[in-house]
Symmetry: C2
Amino acid sequence: MNHEDFFKIKDDWNLQIESLDEEQLVHYGSNLLCGNGYLGYRGTLEEWGKEQYQACVITDTYDMADGKWRELSNSPNALTTEVMVAGENIGDFPGQNKMTTELDFNYKYGVFKRISESKNNNIEIFSERFASYDNLHLIANNYQLKNIENDEVELKLGINGDIWDLNGTHLENFRGEYNSNKNILYLKAETGESKITLVTALSFRFKKGKIKNVKVENEKKSIYLLINVEAESDKIDLDRNMIVYSSNDVDAPLKAALIDADEALELGYQKLKEKNQTIWDKKWELMDIKIKGNILDQLAVRFNLYHNIIAAPAHSDRLPIGARGLSCQAYQGSAFWDQEIFNLPMFLYTETETAKNILKYRYHTLNGARKKAKDLGYDGAFYAWISGKSGKELCPSFFFKDVISGRKIRNHFNDWQIHVSPDISYTIWKYYLATKDIDFVVDYGSEILFEVARFLHSRVHYNQYKDKYEIIRLLGPDEYHENVDNNAFTNYQTQFALKKALYFYYKMENEYPEKLLDLKNKIDLTESEVTAWQQISEKIYLPQPDENRLIEQFDGYFDLEDTNAEVLKERLIDKEEYWGWPNGVAVFTQVIKQADVIQLFTLHDIFSEDVLAANYDYYEPRTQHGSSLSPSQYAVIAARLGRAEEAYDYFKKSAFIDLMSTNKAVSGGTFIGGVHTAAAGGIWQLIINGFAGMKIDRKGLSFKPVLCQEWEEIEFKLNYQAKKFNVTLDQNMFKLKAAAGNDEALEFSIFEKEYTVDAAEEIKIEL
Amino acid sequence: MNHEDFFKIKDDWNLQIESLDEEQLVHYGSNLLCGNGYLGYRGTLEEWGKEQYQACVITDTYDMADGKWRELSNSPNALTTEVMVAGENIGDFPGQNKMTTELDFNYKYGVFKRISESKNNNIEIFSERFASYDNLHLIANNYQLKNIENDEVELKLGINGDIWDLNGTHLENFRGEYNSNKNILYLKAETGESKITLVTALSFRFKKGKIKNVKVENEKKSIYLLINVEAESDKIDLDRNMIVYSSNDVDAPLKAALIDADEALELGYQKLKEKNQTIWDKKWELMDIKIKGNILDQLAVRFNLYHNIIAAPAHSDRLPIGARGLSCQAYQGSAFWDQEIFNLPMFLYTETETAKNILKYRYHTLNGARKKAKDLGYDGAFYAWISGKSGKELCPSFFFKDVISGRKIRNHFNDWQIHVSPDISYTIWKYYLATKDIDFVVDYGSEILFEVARFLHSRVHYNQYKDKYEIIRLLGPDEYHENVDNNAFTNYQTQFALKKALYFYYKMENEYPEKLLDLKNKIDLTESEVTAWQQISEKIYLPQPDENRLIEQFDGYFDLEDTNAEVLKERLIDKEEYWGWPNGVAVFTQVIKQADVIQLFTLHDIFSEDVLAANYDYYEPRTQHGSSLSPSQYAVIAARLGRAEEAYDYFKKSAFIDLMSTNKAVSGGTFIGGVHTAAAGGIWQLIINGFAGMKIDRKGLSFKPVLCQEWEEIEFKLNYQAKKFNVTLDQNMFKLKAAAGNDEALEFSIFEKEYTVDAAEEIKIEL
């Protein structure tokens, strides 16, 4: 596949679609998303509606409309536009072939631009918009019509509440109003189940074009203005602002929306744009990765970084990063284990406040995790597989369908895939190592760590006969094998989580005895529990490399049929069939969906290189990469093994998942499209942990750099324990320059040799 | 259903089929089986072949022909007969409607009789046969043709090796020979995989009819004689003997077969018949149950007792009781848990030597059970779910088929249904209580008990959090729910098995210290293992009656959808669908296949009557009785609750399973026909443990009699610790008479009141 089949590159920040491919509309919507962690406005044209997957997903608006899936609501669309010129509906409508449209997206500032030219006359539509980081509730839009030779145009503007929803209709009780003095209108609605009020406001000003007449049309779910406008110099130029507030944001969302709509109109599009750019410039100062030598890859990297940034609700400590961010309603706008293991690492070493907020979200959802544990007969915190606002489990017990029989399948994502809990503990530890933010650990992290340890204590079983603790009936990262025992990944993560709970328990006992006492009282934690954690962490069964240096993914894995994904594809009765539990084609074979033992290696650098190599070589041909989480992790280990070209191949697979739409948007009748945010986060890891070989552990910060031939140089910034530095890596040289403002010297190792750099000092290592 | 749709009753030992129903042929074959624990010759006509399910199953001839199922071989048929009179093939062939046939079976002596009359002329065929208990290798047959008005008949006799096999052809390398001096012919063959030599011999003598000419026809798999016979007084009367020997029986099976064939011919049919009858008379003296007031039920009871007797290889201590006995090859002629829990109880209190032999079979198969445990990562003896001669697991991992997709299903009968091991320990304890045969326990039983305890030790998991041992991932008696935890039946049985292992360990330590030492050395048993058994038996989790007095069948059972079998039937997509694992209609519901908690109650009388009642009332409407094992167990508990009429209803369901062919012979393309021997054994329990309320435990022998209105009186004999006695129960009176020959007084209780009866003394209790 060639990227030019999908898009063109203008420069290393800008992507272009020169003409629309109707089959790709659903992907444009996601890839060209304007977002800011509060909302996501899909890359659609102003004249499009729900049939073209137009949507604006709003965070923190969970609602259940179909009795099964609780998901985020979409906002009514305040940028909806209908243009009538001389009785003709002007716009680029799929299937009509009346206009040619070029799309342009700037990933530096999240700016979507469209230019459409009529094939019949000279009329042009130009529009540009962005979701503001200065005001998260704002989408600013400049909309222009050019070459209007007729004097008058009939514009239908307004707020369209008849919107795209994946799982049932969420909004009801619509009320719209128009304030003609201020040129502001709003549509207020309520979610059916959760009773959240959602207000969408629109303010507008014609910079060119004279309003001749305005007629208000109030429909059941929408409010429109029919405006007769007289073009000026054959042109109509409109600034408008879409504002969204929910009653979860503020007590009086309508009031807030109207104020913001008014203010935005005051400031005007250009000023709003500048404010947004200032914030993005700061973000990129922390988070950009520069790649020399391949503009396509550079753009792809920035595409992924951009999407990881806008997926994160950095403004809040009570919201999850959705597995599809805010690019659509798929995956419920909810956190999976992806959040800690894929999305967070980038923030841990750059925008640490965001990392902290996301981890605090897990603190605020402890009660949901406690409830889940209790409901399943366990203690402590068993985090939801699909975690929304409350942290209660949003993953239904039955959601896959056996496409052959039509009978629903009981998948055990919600009760057997326990590694999500220790994954969170793992990331708290990494956050602590990266920031030394002990206050966070003492005030928030420790409670998570202890409750996860408690859960694990109640979940493991002691096998007296083997004198080992075992974990029975698991679903590891590889989701094709359910109901397995002693999944290596889960068991190692469990030990790690217990050890870190113990570490902070004793640290608090020594350094924060009163805080510990308070916490122990709060959660009724006893000494005997802590003793048990110790025992379990010492005696948990950890699969060791065998005589071939292989670690068995779970008990009995090596006894399964040894084949590969291509062979299994031939065995499918229906190509929509699920490959896994309970009777899919992969279940009784060694074919795995995604990195599992390899995933373990990316998190724990505790095995020798020959063990890594043996397992990489074994598992790699048996991995289907049926999950977007997989390629980046193989890449990290390939790079760690010095196999830079293999790592690069995986970079290609991972970085272009969305850009070249290699994953299906709909599977088995279920919409699973949208941006793969975990893959986006994985790209950061692939470069920093893979090519640069960066790692932190209790021994400190270290690098094992290796660069693929396709790139001349990579450059990025990191923030390690409040010491900032810049890294440049080319084929021959690894350079690390400490920021001028650092208070302390930075210590690190490269290929196990130790270095210290003072503020503003640079060190260069020949490779 | 009326029994007359299936058969007529001649008297309380004899059943008649007045005219053949072609759809019932497969059931006649099983129900009218001649057998003796060594072989089973199906109730078919002499002119029938494999299309009519003619077969003679031979014990101890395991062979695998299809790479999947190891099963018993069928012998070539030495009673095959073709009659030509005036160019016409005389016989009752399905679909031809040339003759009417009456079948008669005598269950007292296992005698099959057929009389067929031609519809076109006066020719009659009469034939009678039995499998001898005097010589287990012999089937004796008297065959007559009457009203032969033509002078000469052409008879094709011989041995037909082209036989019915369920799972592949077992016999090959056929060699046949005819000794014309002795009128003996034989066919020798070999099993393909196991290389067992099987010899089938035939000796014959015409008592009426003159041989005019004999021509030998040697076919690839058969040997025939074409005999021209001249009728005498319009009659041909032929005695013949079919003899079968395998190389597993004797070193020289051919020689043995020829000797027996010759001897049988010497003795003649009448003498052979008398010898067989003498042995049966002795058996019935021990095992008959007499029922007054309902001749149909009396016959049905005897039908079941007969089949339980002929299914048991009483002659050997190295062979299993097949789940279908020797009535066909289905279920591999192998032992399931049915053997100990359903077939054995009758022998435990009557023919105790047979009980001992069957238990010794489990001793001789310890290595198979050890291998299975080891292969699955456990220690000790994990008995095979399907246990043949060696005790190795014969249950394949994949045998059911998803009839909708056609894809095979991994059922976990072989690895998760662990209760078979403690079930054997349970029965060893019962054998000990019934016989006080400590020598058996010391020499054989203890090794089984210890190895089972060892297995259970390696199978349980300690839940430190709950301070309980748990058993995770089980399949209990109710086979519709796989992968469950803490199945009440299995957990209670496990505790019981551990306690009895400990009991005999300490008993041997005190009374047989050297034998214990030898055994400990032999199996490397350590003190710490014994300590562990103690710990586990004290702390194993045993589900207790809840606030509604209900015992949960397994963890989470009560959370499943509460519905019934009728509703589920509506949900079937294909009526051949398996209801259970992994995605059948019963899996996520409370509908169970068979008695499970109720099965626990039949084995352990440790719960109060109100707990029994609550659970009976709860589980009964949720039980599909999809297994023939189920109704008898519900009956026992119904009787224990004094609900004699409900018990009687279950008697009807259970006793007539085969007689009225209520179970399908073929399911999902798999032949599962044949006699339900466990149900046969269950009938004994239903009457003795149910209506008579007999029970033995460490407190001794006791009765809680109650009789259903449909019966005037039941009478049976028992043998308890070498003290024989006779019990008579009617609506008003319970009478127990000790045998004249008893050495000691018999102690027992009735309704918890204690009694002692000396030899020949009788006690009468008004009810």
